[in-house]
Symmetry: C4
Subunit: 444 residues, 4 copies
């Protein structure tokens, strides 16, 4: 151990032993190149987002979540509490929000007579899809004496207890189980993780027919005691700002009765190369790829040279992490472009089906987060080049020396903190929202 | 004093004088056993609670407290202000919430035609009970000149001023005082501690008859000027998730006029051995009992060996506290199982009476809190095994040395803090909620 | 200066030079007596307040401020904005709140047929009084070119611009100015300090006649362009808990248009010797007087002995302050008792007049605050007896040594803070509530 | 560098080398003069603002923003969401707020029969103006496959894409573009910077005709798909308190659909010399000008004496800044007086046009802010005279010594902070209001 350290210093940071002037110059050159790379990365990342996304989400959120149910001032999607409220939401605010009459005197658009433009600007893509998951009877144990009272027992949702039998009228896809498509994701709701199959139906292209269909389903009890969750999925495209808004409204019917609504609005830029600025971004992306290639070669050569010692410097780990994130970003970007084209083609050939943008929207927002973390680390890496700051090195060496004590304290702190969070969860968990899940307790 | 210290060290911690290696090994073995015990305890405790409790409380709270009175958008149980509001609540939201029609087309359940399933899932157990406490006339002193104005004077509630005379129509149990059952608890309300007797009646099994009864009581002035509090008690059982929800809505009629509503929703798991997972928990409980027995014997032998010195080590006090809590937990668990069976039997044989789960729910939630504190201390005890941490011992010895100064400061701080809280209570107490009781002032 | 210090020490604290044991004993004896005094003071102070005060205020606040105007769900006293809203409030929520029908079937109380019991428990004392203050025309300068547009100019309220001319129908006291009674206080409103005279009228004893009167006044424009404030005053007495609730609702009509409502609810215990507990309090008060007398003699003798040096010890200043507060408290207590008796007598002989409890309520609440500050200082004084704490003296001597620097910093801090508050007031004052007055800015 | 420092000390602060007594005296004299200057400045600044401004803004804000749309309890200007809501606002709350009937029985004011007094006290100046900005079709790129669906594409607002073609009925100024007046300012809205031209019209002098005009415009689709923003401008004058209230309500129609309302209420004192107090202020202003002149000469002479060294003392920079601010303030004050007179003359000669006070109000509030900053620095400058405080100099010299380290840390902190803000913007920007713009992220 003691013998190794000089070796490490000698090999990993040979420039410390070089003359200071040369080192400074090399460092400065490296820094300059790095700043170009960082600028390029910033342009790409900021080109990806826009304030419009926020306003699009906000406007849609207000339209679908804050419109009160007909005849009741105080109840909207976020505060509804019973199954009849839910049907009223479907037949009222949802249909009102989805199907808009064309702009008055707007004769120029005879082509898309059947298309609905939400708020006159956002084209509803294809048709909305409503999907439910059900659970089988007798999926929970009843205390024997109570069996006289109730023969029905529908437990909490769980994949293995899913009911895939056709039910009700059985004359329509809404009553038959359909398997998930290969790409769909399972959904984390408030109280469960839901599979991607279920009993699906799509709404017709007009408001009148949709209302008819919904009333028909309500009258025939499409929502049963075994229903555990209903998803309402639709997407829209705003040509003015080239943004997709992918919406999922989720209504859970827990085993304890009542309903728990939740929602997800995702505004994403799926079509990337439309305006001239987009082409500028594209060229930035090409430069970015070149940078990544160069860095990759650099790191490889350095790894080859230093061998095992390469992994002993924290900065190298950061370099590798950044490289990995960059490569994943490039691959995802390519995949997204192909997949959007395919979906678009399908949609344009037949506009009466539900286009599953949810999957793409989910990964696009994951990708955005990843690239954001990427740029954060890229900013931190800048310290590699300016770390000859005296105060900084003093600080870090002091930290290194008392690392053991700090770790000891950290463990003690963690145990006490964990015990305290557990206490909070156990004592207040059933009454207070902030303590209702163990994760929340940890955050408090 | 000086002579005693080496003695203490020599006897309480003899392992310090042993060889370090042996000690480490013994310590590690102890730690391992302790971790098994801790895991067992965690499984038992977390098996006792579930997120469903939170959602069950939330759903019930919304149903009974947030439904507005008929015809008034802004007034619900939490904001009602006059006696007529209270009768409207009883006849409106309460009855609507309690009595649900069966699920449409649900023919399979002919057996329990008269049972109400709240939100279609939660069986109302037996019937709800409404109980009031009244106070006698002339229970306060009137300033002599005012005696011309008012001959009636009903003071604040106090057990010794309780009015136990029959009143009103006297044709029914609602008008006759009934003694408390032996087990019932007194109730801490917002402005008083209420005894457990009172004028009680239960609601019939149907909504129509209940409404009739309530209107009859309203017309005959069941609530008088002497009424100081009304309790509405009912319980429900959710077979899907095997949870009881025990509800008490309290409406106080203070001597100053107006009404003060409060409420208590308790979701508890009273039936423990129903599913397979429950049997796994039961086996964990058996293991737990064995652990407790072992610990008990260990502590006894240690106490015998060390005699008076045993009580000089803080860790031993913690051990004893944990043992005591464990034993109480085991005893309560046994009692609960017996008591629930008895109540269930009674209820199943006659479903027209009010089943008093409130007492059991209260102790179950107290028990949950106790076991939570238990597990918190059990986590803390883990430091006993890893306390050879150097920094830790430095810290504690430093603290010990300046204990006297710290205590001096603490007393000074307490006096100033107490004086300050008192000032806040006296100056702002009659205007601001946060200062309305002296306890609140202390918390601020 | 240097020569004086030993002198001071020698004379003010001669016990430091005595033997330590004797000193401790004397100190302990003093402390014991002081604790008895403190306990007595606490009993008196806490006997003066009760949680009922808070609930009485809360219930009344809800009744008068939170009841919406007839036909409008969202507007109540606190949110009303125009003069017609104000008349609606007077004719709706105010009259509904003031005049209650007797409790159903309550025949026993034939004596007080005309009395209104708010919430069935709180006797409305006498009749409510409504009072306005007006301002003369041409009390502000109009920019010359605008004089063509408007001949009327009613400036901000100011005592010297008050309009005391009779106006309108002149057939009633409501249209004639009446001078303030000698005792009434000026009122600090949101935007001015209002004198205590004005155009007053009282409401009749029944709701119907009151409504008639108010409609008559509204139709004849009792509120004119010169009206700057309207006060609504009434008091009630709750015999159950022996509390007065003295209410003043203030509506300001600022020169900028619109209306600004404010309010003051004061629950006070004006009648002190009614129950047995009150007599116990009375005996405590006698003991308190004896204590005050003793302390007075003690301080006098000490002052005589130490002469000018007496004033060099901070504790002596505290002693004098406490003595002064105590004497004022005793005097006020005597005055209150006399004044309440007088007012009560007047009220009982003629219940159709407005009894001016506002003045008494104001001073009672001032008195409560004073006695609260008194007891706070009394608690602090306890340190005089336990100040031989070593750490404490170290702390205070250190503070004394660097007092000069601290004061220098304090001045600098104050200048910067003042400049900053001023900046906040000037920049945000016209937009944000927190900065709307300079005092608010200082608190921020 | 090393040689220069004694030189600087010797020349800039020669008084340090003088005898201490003389220096103190000179310093005290300077301080005294400075305090007179500061007092004068304070009087001027506080004479400029008043609490009435806050209440005037508040009352107007409530009237125009909080009045609900007719028939809908929950929707007002701040929460409206669709174009039809906007027309309802124009025809309902706006007209109700603008046009008030005269005070009942107010015959004295026959002259201004057509003038509307908002809240009976605030004269509506001239007539309100409504102005919209539109954008051309095909101002954004549509993804080729979507071109079949939509031929219309109106992008985000941008000056170069503005549509200045006449449209609709073309029979009125409302349908023709009018160029901006030379003085008008561009407007920063929530999502764009808007030019000052547009399609304008003014409302007639009566409510009935205004309603007619608005309904006519609504029926003929004055708001088109290309509309991006509508401004509603009006001003009022309160003669009682001599304040103008200049209101601009902005409604943006973003490219993503929906509407985003915002508002700006400015209460300013534009007419300065009306009351006697104003003349006192005027004399203070004259004194102020003399002070500024003196300071200017002083600084000039000092600058001449010290040459380049003058700029090496931070206090001198502060002096120069203050002088500059003072001169700008004086110039603006002169300009304002002239401009208001001109506007007033225009308005009084023809009251049927829209008087553009917005420009003046904007600069007046900018001026208020400037003078506030001015007085803040003037307060800080007082330390120049009392900086012989020992502690202070110690502090500043310590700070000066470790400036390099502090700057290093500051840079590091800024980079990390910037990276963190960027991360927040990228990850949460599209969902959470606090992160919706990068500036907001920086403030967090």
């Amino acid at each position: 151990m003691f013998l190794e350290i000089p070796h490490v210093i000698g090999s990993v940071r040979p420039r410390i032993t070089q003359s200071r002037e040369l080192e400074m110059k090399a460092s400065f050159q490296e820094l300059l190149i790095y700043i170009i790379y960082l600028t390029d990365l910033c342009i790409i990342t900021f080109g990806m987002v826009s304030t419009d996304m926020y306003y699009l989400n906000k406007v849609m959120l207000k339209l679908f979540l804050k419109t009160p149910l007909p005849g009741v001032e105080n109840i909207d999607f976020t505060t509804m509490g019973s199954i009849s409220d839910f049907w009223q939401f479907l037949e009222g605010p949802l249909l009102d929000g989805l199907f808009w009459k064309p702009w008055p005197n707007d004769n120029s658009t005879s082509l898309h007579r059947n298309s609905s433009y939400i708020y006159y600007e956002n084209l509803l893509l294809g048709v909305p899809q409503i999907r439910q998951l059900r659970i089988r009877n007798n999926t929970c144990s009843i205390y024997p004496p109570f069996r006289a009272f109730t023969k029905l027992c529908y437990g909490k949702y769980s994949y293995k207890y899913e009911d895939r039998e056709s039910f009700g009228l059985k004359n329509d896809s809404a009553w038959h189980y359909s398997r998930p498509t290969s790409l769909s994701l399972w959904h984390w709701g408030s109280i469960g993780l839901y599979s991607s199959g279920g009993f699906r139906f799509t709404l017709p292209k007009t408001k009148e027919k949709s209302l008819e269909k919904l009333i028909f389903l309500e009258d025939n009890n499409w929502i049963t005691k075994g229903t555990r969750v209903v998803f309402i999925d639709f997407s829209m495209y705003n040509a003015n700002v080239n943004l997709f808004c992918i919406v999922r409204l989720t209504v859970e019917f827990p085993a304890i009765g009542g309903i728990i609504p939740s929602w997800r609005f995702r505004s994403v830029k799926l079509l990337r190369y439309v305006t001239y600025f987009d082409y500028f971004l594209a060229s930035c992306e090409v430069i970015f790829c070149l940078f990544v290639l160069t860095f990759f070669i650099q790191e490889m050569s350095q790894m080859k040279r230093l061998k095992i010692n390469y992994f002993k410097d924290g900065w190298n780990w950061l370099d590798m992490l950044l490289l990995l994130l960059n490569v994943v970003a490039i691959v995802f970007n390519a995949y997204r472009t192909v997949e959007v084209s395919r979906l678009m083609e399908n949609l344009l050939s037949n506009s009466d089906v539900y286009p599953d943008f949810y999957f793409l929207g989910y990964w696009q927002s994951r990708y955005n987060n990843m690239i954001s973390v990427n740029i954060f680390f890229a900013w931190i890496k800048i310290f590699k080049f300016i770390s000859f700051n005296k105060t900084m090195t003093q600080l870090s060496s002091t930290l290194a020396r008392c690392a053991k004590d700090i770790i000891g304290f950290a463990i003690m702190f963690f145990i006490i903190f964990f015990a305290y969070a557990q206490l909070g969860y156990l004592v207040f968990g059933s009454q207070v929202n902030e303590f209702s899940t163990f994760q929340n307790c940890m955050y408090e």
